[in-house]
Subunit: 343 residues, 2 copies
DNA sequence: GCACGGCGTGGGAGCGCTCCCAACGGCGAC
DNA sequence: GTCGCCGTTGGGAGCGCTCCCACGCCGTGC
């Protein structure tokens, strides 16, 4: 039951001054007490805490921020134009992990979206406008102007995914897409599949490119252009790409899709064409998303360590913020093959 | 190209004072100019704008917030313990719509999660601690303490979904779950299905309860307890509930599932039991989520006007913030039947 | 015995903005 | 011609906090 004690502030809320008066110490001492308690005697600490409890005091974030020049919050920026990540369960996962990890470090998470050109512009203003101390970015497409501006502003930033063209200048955490793609395609080959087709993701994204490169490395000399089709991660595009593949008349006994959702579309198309999965065509996905177990047959796919990468990103950002890390840091995390029924 | 002009502030960033000096007016006039321009001559406005552009000035949010007592930002709170909304595409949709609508009104969106008891407690502190001017809440379970605390704090709040037990004291925006359930169950009946089973959502959630009530109203006297099973929205629970229904030995020719995801699980279970959909059992879902078109056959379901409800919530919150609205406001939005192949 | 360093503390000086009041001038009304 | 009003402007007074310097005090080393 706070606030039945005399309080001076016109806002009605108790201030640090009220706490100081009640505890019988100075404003400076209370400030030190609520900021870690360095150079404060334990007895005084306790007394201050008691006063805080009695008054129901909580610091005014605006005042703290104005005086200290820090905000205590970090932005999570979704510079995703379309659906991939945004409509993905991973988005929620990221938010949850970030929020938890940052809270543990005494910071707040602030989520913003930047969809169009305007929003991206606005975003630059916002991020460099003193609203946040740092930022976590997802950027499937290379977004030169924003990245360049952020780099120039000196704002601590960690990118989720590999920022094509900015690998050197920024810190980032990514999945070893290429290695994972290699592993799953190699698995298909080991199962005796000799002609392996693929549906790639957008090749202007890092993941799209890398997964495709992993595929190419494994098929090596057996690479054939007519076994490759392109999608945009969506189930719809997976279906269309498969139909295109089939329409070419080339046959294949395995199909590596760069996303689970495309694999779902692919399975539907194969089934319509009278082909059995995995008997006629083994299908492999990527992501181990909820879609993976929702289709029949359940997808053999690759599990991406989203949680770990989120935690790693926060760790790096924290280092950047407290200047423990001064050079851009880059981390590549391994993923894991998940074998189910589709291949 | 900002900041090649002499700047006084020790932070390096130009302040309102620098702008005033360059524009040849006073601090007060610049403040008025950047806050709508009331009582400022057009010529002066232009001069101030020019100075702002030259210096690359942007307001310091902390200083503004400290002086004005407002923050300009609104929290979107996910007090969702588990997966339903969080792993849902709707979540992303909400974030996007909120972010867009608030930006349009000159505010920022701040997303926070509150999963455990601790976080909920923390959340109360946070929301009432002066970090935000108002909040948008999702709360599938009735969370008495948080709601009570928010109500008592006087913070403007709009709830997405019906806050059971707090319908009178808070503003909220919800879907007409009951009406929508009625409509789709009536549709099943109109298709000649005589024994309609249902898989409900959690009955301690408003939607779970209302959808069940809609079902009951339509089946009326033909209600049979053994045609009802319960789930938790997940596809897994839909599968389990269906197996349970089948195990009872009672037959049914239609199944209304309170979520698409449960319908997906139900279809898998029915298929395993050798029952055809929709021939033997017509299946209806709810939500019109991405899952709806991902299964075979595509789900007949109910489309929920998420976007509209998000926009409506912002509209109400805005009214609460600028005191245009003083009484709690309640809005119930209608949904729309979407007929596909499963029923 | 005395100088010195460091811990613990008090309080002045801002941080950059908004709010408000006083002052100024021009204009229509009487 | 004078009065009063309103639109416009300047600038003082904070908003509630952190930062930093100065001051006392105690313990240590010689």
């Amino acid at each position: 039951m706070p606030a039945h004690h005399p309080v001076s502030s016109p806002s009605g809320r108790p201030t640090i001054e009220d706490v100081a008066r009640l505890a019988g110490v100075s404003r400076g001492t209370v400030s030190r007490a609520i900021n870690g308690g360095r150079h404060v005697r334990p007895a005084v600490m306790a007394e201050v805490q008691r006063a805080i409890d009695i008054l129901g005091y909580s610091v005014n974030p605006a005042a703290r921020s104005l005086a200290s020049g820090r905000t205590g919050s970090v932005a999570f920026v979704l510079s995703e134009r379309q659906e991939h990540l945004f409509e993905d369960p991973n988005f929620g996962l990221f938010v949850r992990v970030f929020s938890r990890e940052l809270r543990r470090r005494g910071r707040h998470l602030l989520v913003t979206a930047a969809e169009g050109k305007d929003e991206e512009l606005f975003l630059g203003d916002y991020l460099t406008g003193g609203h946040v101390d740092g930022a976590l970015l997802t950027l499937p497409h290379a977004r030169e102007p924003l990245l360049e501006r952020l780099r120039a502003s000196g704002l601590p930033v960690v990118v989720l995914g590999e920022p094509l063209g900015h690998q050197e200048a920024l810190s980032w955490v990514a999945i070893d897409d290429e290695g994972a793609a290699e592993e799953i395609v190699r698995y298909l080959a080991a199962k005796g599949r000799s002609s392996i087709a693929t549906i790639t993701g957008p090749l202007n994204t890092s993941s799209g490119r890398r997964r495709y490169e992993g595929y190419r490395r494994v098929v090596g000399r057996r690479y054939r252009k007519d076994l490759v089709a392109h999608g945009d991660w969506s189930s719809h595009s997976g279906r269309a790409a498969t139909e295109q593949l089939l329409a070419r008349g080339t046959t294949f006994d395995a199909l590596f899709c760069a996303s689970d959702r495309m694999a779902v579309g692919a399975i539907a198309a194969l089934r319509e064409a009278g082909l059995g999965v995995p008997d006629d065509v083994a299908v492999a996905g990527f992501d181990d998303s909820v879609a993976a177990t929702m289709v029949e047959p359940a997808l053999t796919t690759v599990r991406i360590p989203f949680e770990e990468s989120a935690m790693e990103a926060v760790r790096i950002l924290e280092g950047l913020l407290d200047k423990t890390i001064t050079e851009p840091r880059r981390v590549l995390l391994p993923s894991k093959l998940v074998v189910r029924d589709s291949a």
